[in-house]
Amino acid sequence: MYNEKVIDHFTNPRNAGKMAEADIIGEAGSFKCGDTMKIYLKIEQGRISDVKFQTFGCGAAIASSSMLTEMVKGKTLEEAQRITNEDVALELGGLPPLKLHCSNLAADALRDAIRRYREKV
C-alpha cells in the first residue's frame, strides 16, 4: 500500500515530539477523519531553524508530518509558505489515492503556524 519512503518516515519519523521553547505553534485537523497535527517552529532571522511535530493520525498522516518537517528546515517563511499538501505527498513518492487526504494537514499546520507568527510579531 505505502512505498518504502512513506514506511521509513512512519517508522523513523524525523523531528517527532514537542519543542519546549518553540517560537510559535501551529495546528491543523482533518475535518474528514479527525486527524490532528501540531507543528512547533523555531524561527531565526526569518528562517525556520528548528521544527518538531506531533500527530494523531494514520501512517500516511504521520509520514506526511515527518516529511514536511524535513522540507521546511532552513527555509524562509516565504519559501515555507509556498509548500502545498501536494508537494508533501509528491516528496514522499506518492500516497494511495484514498489516503491523499491524510497528507493534507501537514502543510495546513505549517501555514497556521506562519500566520500566527506574523500576527504575533
Binding site: 497535527m37 506531533q54 500516511a60 484514498l98
Partner: protein, 388 residues
C-alpha cells in the same frame, strides 16, 4: 504469506483447513459434472451437494430442506431480509440494531427507502441489545426482527434465544446474522426460535465465496434472483459444488472440535486481555464474558488504529481496527460509536481475533512488539497529554 506471520485477524477471514481442501479437491478435479444434469456424472455431483446439505443441517440442528446454499454471508443476509420483505403484500416495520454488519444495516436502509419503516435499536456500552428494547419497539405491523448472533467487531454475543422466543410469541419473523457465531459458539436450531440464519464458510476455516441461509420450514421468503431454479429457486445458478462440499466439511469439523477449540481460545484470550489492559490508558471494548472466545477488542487512547495496524504489520502481525481512515468514509466504526465510545477511542481501536492455529508464541511476539509501538505512537501524538 510472510515468513513469520502472526495472523490475528480470524474475524476477517480464516485459513482453509487441509481436511477441507482435501474434501473439495475431487470436485475441483474429476468430479466436475453439473448437479442439474441427468447423466451419472451429474447425479454423482447432485448427491454430493445433498450430502453437504445434510451435514450442514445436522451441524445446526436443522433439516436438510431448510438449508439453502448461497455465495456468502452478504448474499444470505440480503435474501433473508429483502426476500422476506418481498414475500409480503404490504410494507411493514422491521427491527434491527445499530451494530449490525453493513450487509444487514444497508439492506434495512434500502428497505426504508422503499417505504418500509425500520427501528435501529441502540446497544449498551458492552454492545448488548436489551430484550426490553426489542419488546418496546414491536408494532402491530412489525414483520421481522434481525439481530446478529455475535458482533464482528467487539464479539458481543446477543441474547438471541430470548429475542427469538419473543419474536415467535408475537408472530414476528426472526433473522440472525450468525456469520461470526457459527463454528465459534454452540448453536442448536432445535432449541433456538430462529426463522432465518446466515452463515459464511470462510469464517470457520472453510472456503471463500460460499455461505448458507437457514430458512425454517414455512417461512415466507421470495427469491431476489431469477434463473435456472437451483436451491429450490431461492438462489438460482449453477451450484458452487467444491465450495458447498467445503462449507459442509468445515462446519462438521468446527462443531466436532468446538469444546476443544473453545478451551484453547479462551486461554489465549485471557492472557491477551490481561496483557493489553496492563498497558496504560487502554480499555476493553465489548462484554467481559458474553463475547466470542476468539475476540479481543481494545482501544488505546491518544493513538490512531490504522497507524497501529501499520506498525504491527511491519512486524509481521496481522490485525484489524475499527478506525476508518481508509475507505474514504469519514466515520470510525459505527459499532464502537453506538457503544458510546468517543471519536478518539473509537479511532484508537484494535481488534485481535484468534483462531485454532494461534499459540502462546503468537502472543509472545505480539507483546514484544505492541507496547513499544504504542509508546512510540503516543509520544508523537498531538493528543497525548504526557511529557514528550
Amino acid at each position: 504469506m510472510q515468513e513469520r506471520l502472526v495472523y490475528l485477524d480470524h474475524g476477517a477471514t480464516s485459513p482453509l483447513r487441509e481436511e477441507v481442501l482435501e474434501a473439495m479437491l475431487p470436485f475441483l478435479k474429476e468430479r466436475y459434472g453439473n448437479p442439474s444434469s441427468l447423466h451419472s456424472p451429474g447425479r454423482v455431483i447432485r448427491q454430493a451437494v445433498e450430502e453437504a446439505r445434510e451435514k450442514t443441517a445436522l451441524a445446526l440442528g436443522a433439516e436438510p430442506d431448510e438449508i439453502f446454499f448461497t455465495s456468502g454471508g452478504t448474499e444470505s443476509n440480503n435474501i433473508a431480509i429483502r426476500g422476506a420483505a418481498r414475500a409480503r403484500r404490504s410494507k411493514g416495520h422491521l427491527i434491527t440494531t445499530s451494530i449490525e454488519h453493513h450487509a444487514v444495516l444497508d439492506v434495512c436502509k434500502g428497505l426504508a427507502e422503499d417505504g418500509f419503516s425500520v427501528t435501529y435499536l441502540p446497544v449498551d456500552r458492552y454492545g448488548l441489545v436489551s430484550l426490553e428494547m426489542v419488546e418496546k419497539a414491536l408494532r402491530p405491523d412489525t414483520f421481522m426482527i434481525s439481530i446478529m448472533m455475535a458482533n464482528n467487531e467487539v464479539g458481543t454475543i446477543e441474547p438471541v434465544a430470548e429475542i427469538g422466543a419473543l419474536a415467535r410469541e408475537r408472530g414476528v419473523l426472526f433473522h440472525t446474522d450468525a456469520v461470526q457465531a457459527v463454528g465459534q459458539i454452540p448453536l442448536d436450531l432445535r432449541e433456538l426460535k430462529i426463522d432465518l440464519l446466515t452463515l459464511s464458510a470462510h469464517k470457520f476455516n472453510g472456503p471463500k465465496g460460499v455461505g448458507a441461509l437457514y430458512v425454517r420450514r414455512g417461512t415466507p421468503v421470495a427469491p431476489l434472483y431469477d434463473g435456472g431454479g437451483q436451491e429450490k429457486a431461492l438462489r438460482p445458478g449453477t451450484e458452487n459444488v467444491p465450495g458447498i462440499v467445503g462449507l459442509a466439511r468445515a462446519l462438521e469439523l468446527a462443531v466436532e472440535e468446538l469444546p476443544e477449540k473453545t478451551r484453547h481460545l479462551l486461554a489465549l484470550r485471557r492472557r491477551l486481555i490481561e496483557g493489553l489492559l496492563a498497558m496504560d490508558d487502554t480499555v476493553l471494548n465489548g462484554h467481559p464474558t458474553a463475547r466470542l472466545p476468539g475476540n479481543v477488542n481494545v482501544s488505546f487512547n491518544y493513538i490512531e488504529g490504522e497507524a497501529l495496524l501499520l506498525g504491527l504489520d511491519l512486524e509481521g502481525i496481522a490485525a484489524s481496527s475499527g478506525s476508518a481512515c481508509t475507505a474514504g468514509s469519514p466515520e470510525p466504526s459505527h459499532v464502537l460509536l453506538a457503544m458510546g465510545l468517543g471519536h478518539q477511542l473509537a479511532r484508537g481501536s484494535l481488534r485481535l481475533t484468534l483462531g485454532r492455529e494461534n499459540s502462546d508464541a503468537c502472543l509472545d511476539h505480539l507483546f514484544s512488539v505492541l507496547p513499544p509501538l504504542v509508546e512510540r505512537l503516543r509520544k508523537m501524538s498531538a493528543l497525548y497529554p504526557g511529557q514528550s
